[in-house]
């Protein structure tokens, strides 16, 4: 096992872009090499050691044997765990935008909150967030037909708007509420929302969305029948028929607006 602990030296005003902080990037490096990794803050190119303290094992290892612990406030540090294929990133506080984007494997666990674009264009692996997540959890990049294609995201608190937009595969589980338009243009992923949301599944063509709380339903959704699941009654909808969608939307009975 190779563990690296990274801690910010000060609170950041201008956000930091740290796509180099991922198990794959740190696995082969020695501590001094890690400390001289390139990190950007605004238009300034810095070394990691200019902004963070890095401690831990020195010897090279494989990505799956690497655990990175991020201690302190990382809410303004973006792109943590970008493209990781294995290993673990433990964020004790909150994490900035684009955490775990293009992730293919491994575990990114965030005890606090996560900013927007958590797990953007994710392929595989697992992301857990103890607190709340921002907008575009598991979504795609502007103009792309496909966002998240695989992997799992679980959010303990609530999530922002456009959850899983352009979802092509994989699953997203939000225990709390989700903002507007979760699962827009869903083409085959699975979304579970423990709380309430607004206009789920816009232009969904495939996949499943389940809402335990309240949900405002789009006109393109046809009521099918009520089904029993996990000891509860759920209203099943088929849609989005504006796109001849074959998606399924389940809303717990007694909770639709």
């Amino acid at each position: 096992m190779k563990t690296i602990t990274i801690t910010p030296l000060k609170a950041f005003e201008i956000s930091v872009e740290a796509e180099n902080i991922s198990p794959d990037k740190l696995a082969p490096l020695t501590l001094s090499q890690i400390r001289s990794l390139e990190i950007w803050q605004g238009n300034r190119k810095r070394k990691l050691s200019d902004l963070f303290r890095a401690e831990g094992d020195d010897d090279p290892a494989k990505a799956e044997d690497v655990t990175i612990t991020l201690r302190g406030d990382f809410s303004r540090v973006k792109r943590i765990g970008e493209g990781m294929t294995a290993g673990r990133v433990e964020v004790e506080g909150s994490v900035g935008m684009h955490a775990g984007n293009n992730m293919k494997g491994g575990l990114l666990s965030v005890r606090g909150d996560a900013e927007d674009w958590l797990g953007r264009e994710m392929r595989g692996g697992r992301i857990t967030v103890g607190g709340n997540a921002g907008n575009y959890v598991g979504a795609g990049y502007r103009g792309e037909k496909c966002g998240m294609r695989g992997g799992e995201i679980e959010v303990g608190g609530s999530a922002g708007n456009y959850l899983g937009e352009h979802l092509c595969g994989g699953s997203i589980h939000v225990h709390g509420d989700a903002g507007d338009f979760p699962g827009a243009a869903n083409q085959g992923g699975t979304i579970f929302i423990g709380g309430s949301t607004y206009l789920p599944g816009a232009e969904m063509t495939k996949g499943t969305i389940t809402v335990k709380g309240k949900a405002r339903i789009l006109p393109g959704y046809q009521k099918i029948e009520t089904v029993a699941m996990d000891g509860e009654d759920w209203q099943k909808y088929a849609g989005d028929l504006v796109e001849n969608g074959k998606g399924e939307l389940f809303v717990r009975v007694g909770s639709s607006l």
Partner: protein
């Protein structure tokens, strides 16, 4: 009274938007249009102003009846006064929520702040 606020262009606002420090602009944009019913139910009349409040701020404006508005809706010409009531969050897409903003509306005797007053003390304000 609870209401939904929308902000937008008007002819007078447009005509004055290149001379925002002028009294014309002040007159054109520091107004709040209300439906006839809301105007009377709030007991507004000549000389009375209207106070709009929400989590983001508050603004005192000159009330005006607008037959085109339905009950429960208010319209403020786009500009510094309207934007006191608009939140900074863009919901992930870069554009703030300028229309459909929840506000509390009440009559008031407080005066409408002029534009310099609205921005006084803002430069390098630490608060």
């Amino acid at each position: 009274m609870k209401a939904i606020m929308i902000s937008g262009r008007t002819l007078a606002q447009g005509a004055g938007c290149e001379c925002k420090m002028s009294p014309d602009f002040l007159k054109a944009v520091s107004v709040c249009h209300l439906s006839r019913e809301d105007y009377s139910s709030l007991g507004l009349s000549e000389g009375k102003n209207v106070l709009l409040k929400n989590d983001f701020g508050q603004a005192v404006l000159t009330p005006k009846v607008d037959a085109g508005l339905r009950q429960g809706m208010v319209f403020i010409p786009m500009g510094p006064w309207a934007n006191v009531l608009v939140g900074p969050d863009t919901g992930g897409c870069g554009t703030p929520h300028f229309k459909g903003v929840e506000v509390d509306v009440d009559a008031t005797d407080a005066p409408v702040r002029n534009i310099r007053d609205l921005f006084r003390g803002l430069w390098r304000a630490t608060a």
